[in-house]
Structure formats: C-alpha cells, structure tokens
Amino acid sequence: MTDPVRPHLPDMIRLSGYLDGELDGATQREMETHLAACPPCAERLAELRALTAAFDALPQDTLGFDLAGMIAGRLAAAPRPSPERPAPRWWGLLPASLGAAAALTLGTGIGSVLIGGGAAMPRMAAMSVFDTLPPGGLCLGPDSCYSKGARK
C-alpha cells in the first residue's frame, strides 16, 4: 500500500472494510489516498459499491398482515415471564412517551412492571436501543417504522 504505482492484488478485506466505514481513522484515510492513485483498487471498490446498490434494489418483501394481531392469542397462552425474576427491563424498549401513556391507560399490569424496575432504567439506555428510530417515534402500523434510512 505504500507504493501505489507498483502493481498489486487489491486487498479485498480492506476495501470491504473501507466501504463499510469500519476501518480505524488512520487506515481509512490511508485507503482514501491509495484509492485516488490506484485505479485497480478503485475499480474493485466500485464493484463493491455496485453490489451494495444491488442489495438496496432487492424487492422489499413484507408479511402483508399484522403478525402482532395474529399471535396475540398465542402470547396469551405463552408462559408469562417469570415473576420471581427481575422485572422485565424490555419495557424500556418503548419510547418513553409511549411507555408513560401506556402505563396510564393499561392499568395495573403495566404499572407494576414500571414500578418493579422498568422505570428505574436510565432513559438514555432505553433510547439507545432504538437508535435507528426517530426520537419518540411511534410505530402505528406494520410498514410505518421500517426504512432503510440514509446510509453511507
């Protein structure tokens, strides 16, 4: 990599890591410099980018029905998370605003979960779990929450 003019085999592992922005800062910059001076490596990188674009263009299959509604009955039949264990911290997964509203409307079941430990969970930890979602974003339908978002 020190002499970009000398012919070499492209380092696909580095190129792939570079594409994903997963190299350390120094290596990432080193690759940038190298790519500017090495057409073969730049060409391999372009192929990797084209591959990523092809993935983005794959058909986005959806279930086409509300799975939550469908399994509601089976959830009722499923063994309840064991009461002896610490309160289910997964409650923190829901946006704080939704959690609070739900606790008010859904009554004692959820209230006890919150009092039992969910509420003690640091809010930032809860939010970090869903960092792909807009802050406070609610999911009201099967398709409204999934977007690939801006990448690269």
């Binding site: 192929e47 799975l67 009722a76 997964w90 930890a125 792909t132």
Partner: protein
C-alpha cells in the same frame, strides 16, 4: 396481562424486517412466515433474559437467525460443520478479484443474479451479508448477533462479497482457472 400490548407494538415494529431476513435465509415464503411467528413467540418467552446492554434488534435477529438455521438443518440443506468452520481462513482467490464486465453490474440483471448468488452462498456468508447489506448493522452488532469476533466479521463479509462477485463473473463465463 399488561405487557402484551407493549410487546405487540414491538412485533409490529420489527415484523417485516425479521420476515425479510428469514425469507432470504430459507427462501420459502410460507416457511418464513411461520418462522417469523416462531421468532416473536420465542422472543416473548425469553424477554426476561434480555438486558439493555444488548441491543434489542441484535437480540431479536439472534433468535430469528437460530430459527432459520434450525429450519435449514431440518431440511438438511446445510450440515453442522459448515456453520462452525467457514472459509474465513482461506486466502481470497486472486481470480475472484479480476475486473468484472460492466454490463453485469447493470440494474435488472444484477438483481436476479444477486438473488441467485445469495441462494447459492454458504449459509454463513449469506447471513452475514444480509445483516450488513439489508439490515445495515455495524460490525460490532453483527459480531454480537453471530457470536463471532469483529475481525472475523470483517474478513467474512469481504469473502462473501467476493463470492457474490465471483458468481456474477462465473455467470459471465469468465474464469481464470480454465
């Protein structure tokens, strides 16, 4: 039971992503629907074991992935060995890094080729590409989901990409092994 409505919202949030991942893993729509359902039921039962230190999506995809692998094993499309000893240590074949004809990267063709390549990839390469390219997971999250080292993630993704590009190349009738 009070936590069920909350969980149902989580299902709605993730159901299509989980379904898509499983569908690309097992290739059969009806089976993927069943497995998606199974994934959420398992997740519900396992919720007390989840800790906020683990990203929820990572944890959920772990369950989805296991469900898909179990289904593939039941079908005997893969053997257990291929899951533990992937081709991670082999050198990348220089033939697989030769320039690719530009027309193969053109739109329509590449979608069909990619779908076929994905189906034919070893499962450990398929799953890691799905998590990276479709789910846009970081290497750290992929490492957590697949329970492997970040360094392995890096090399396995590269090998998987090279394998797909080699598939394109093969389709074009190009090979330097002849």
């Amino acid at each position: 039971m009070g936590d069920r409505p909350a969980f149902e919202r989580l299902v709605r949030r993730y159901q299509d992503r989980v379904f898509r991942f499983i569908l690309r893993m097992v290739g059969i729509r009806d089976e993927a629907m069943d497995l998606a359902q199974e994934t959420f039921l398992k997740a519900y039962r396992a919720l007390p074991g989840w800790r906020p230190e683990a990203r929820f999506s990572t944890w959920l995809f772990q369950i989805a992935r296991n469900a898909a692998l179990d289904a593939l094993r039941r079908r005997r499309h893969i053997d257990f060995v291929s899951l533990t000893s992937g081709p991670d240590e082999e050198a990348i074949d220089p033939c697989d890094t030769a320039p690719l004809p530009e027309e193969l990267l053109a739109d329509k063709q590449r979608i069909g080729l990619l779908e076929r390549a994905l189906r034919e990839l070893p499962v450990e390469q398929r799953e890691i590409l799905l998590l990276r390219e479709l789910e846009d997971m970081s290497y750290a999250d992929i490492a957590a989901t697949l329970n492997i080292e970040v360094g392995t993630v890096k090399s396995r993704i590269a090998r998987a990409r090279v394998a797909v590009l080699a598939h394109y190349r093969h389709h074009a009738g190009e090979s330097c092994h002849d």
